[in-house]
Symmetry: C2
Subunit: 335 residues, 2 copies
Amino acid sequence: MIDLSRRNLLAGAATVTAASALGGLSLTTAANAQGAAGQQAPGWYRYKVGDIEVTAVTDGINRFKFPDNFVANVKRDEVNKALTAAFMEADQMAIPYTAVVVRNGGKTTLIDTGTGEQNFTNSKGAAGQLNRNLAAAGIDRKDVSTVIISHFHPDHVNGLLLPDGTLAFANAEILVPDSEYKFWMDDGEMSKATGNQRMEGLFKNNRRVFGNESVKKQVKPYAAGKELVPGITAVATPGHSIGHTSHVISSGGKSVFVQADLANVPFLFVRNPGWHLMFDQIPDQAEATRRKTYDMLAADRTMVQGFHFPFPAVAFIEKTGTGYREVPVPWSPTI
Amino acid sequence: MIDLSRRNLLAGAATVTAASALGGLSLTTAANAQGAAGQQAPGWYRYKVGDIEVTAVTDGINRFKFPDNFVANVKRDEVNKALTAAFMEADQMAIPYTAVVVRNGGKTTLIDTGTGEQNFTNSKGAAGQLNRNLAAAGIDRKDVSTVIISHFHPDHVNGLLLPDGTLAFANAEILVPDSEYKFWMDDGEMSKATGNQRMEGLFKNNRRVFGNESVKKQVKPYAAGKELVPGITAVATPGHSIGHTSHVISSGGKSVFVQADLANVPFLFVRNPGWHLMFDQIPDQAEATRRKTYDMLAADRTMVQGFHFPFPAVAFIEKTGTGYREVPVPWSPTI
């Protein structure tokens, strides 16, 4: 006998929504309130790469009035022109975050971890959604056996820890790019950053996360070029950060290139590969890596999963006269 | 006390999934199994147009090897070239269906009804998903107060009836374009269609649906140019069918143009407005309407909700050298 009739479920959802308004934003309530008026659909999307099941899971979106140096080598007017051409609002930036879960042979791997659950409250629900959306997607955090980190920026590493400082993925090994780990843990490098507010902040945050005793026990640095878990290979794509790494998921002759921050929002940085994001650590190298990699992905017609592409963040790369254009993969209502 | 803990919910989902494998595909099981491995995310997406809440709800997708005359005035090779340019498979067509729910001032309006729930079994779950996705979106079919039909093709009208022949939206008035209703109910027009297999089939299907006694009682023909319910105005866009009608949802200075079949799949018919779909009743008129309307929508930068656009089927229209290009609106993880 199944007692979960639709009527009961909806009644349950209503109760839970009311409870949510009263009691705040626990994981349980958020996972159950979906479908209620004023609620957005849960942010996950599933597809297959050969035998491998991939689930794109959004952590949400960060909206802000961008500073003049957001694109470091281009004037604000030109950025606004690109936004207007993309039917977006001038002066406003909207940066989405989408992590990736790979299920293969009984193992569950998460690539990047989002801005952290504490950011859900801080952002009034706009971001920090990853754990909620994982739950909605039927993915138990306890089942995550490996977390792969692309690079050491807060929107990729902060989700490793829950707000109480414990591990978000308690049973997972944490694979980090070796060059990235070495750089951010190096006291000499940190001292060189003195006076550079952004770099100081990054060092501080990375020491907080990777200095955590529980994280330390699980961390394993990896070299690019290696298969990290069956079906997932690391590819060095440096520039955005010193050890920035992308990942290729492959199975049965199919593959998807999980690009991390090879380009930030596509309507600016895929269309204009020469534009330098204010967060690029080595901008010229980032640009060279971007052009070289997109030339390859466009020529090979390889599907791309982009951390900062609009959800579900799956696209092909088309070469244009002046750069590239992302061509979103049509949503499939079945897998 | 709320007893719907995440553990209980997941246990429930597992039970229901197992039951689904045993017992077929009831609404209840489909709504609960979401998130299970092998399951796609529920196909609904919500946004606001001023004060009005719009929910795009997919009925699924129809995939088939297309016949040579799929684009009536263009050779198969040219169609395949366009598919390849759009990173899609040659010789394969994938036509999505996305209906729209509008909630405004306590009223719930559904625009178009999909291929019908019986098609879920017929298509092995690929389409006929509308009622399942409405349930997932928290929309009770009993609460739908108005159904607006754009035109009398099966993927728009068949969802009016459940497989047992009763009304899918028991409490809804059914607003239909007057010229469309008149044409398909006219015995003289039907006799002229003798020998034209497709038109004969359409007459037969429309007589089945609109000859149904329960449907008859609820039907109200409407004229284009009128506000049908608060915030939704009908716009004549004839050609695809004789009385084909689009709808503008407006509130607080914002609007979205619900285009129905002004163009079928955008990667063919938005990019190439001169291409004639095999299902166009009056192809030259359909093309003229398409060009005129897209010129307007591109100039006004009006958001479009397209029945056959990839889910969530919201895009802007950009004018190009040879036609238009649809620019998908980025998914927002919040409303």
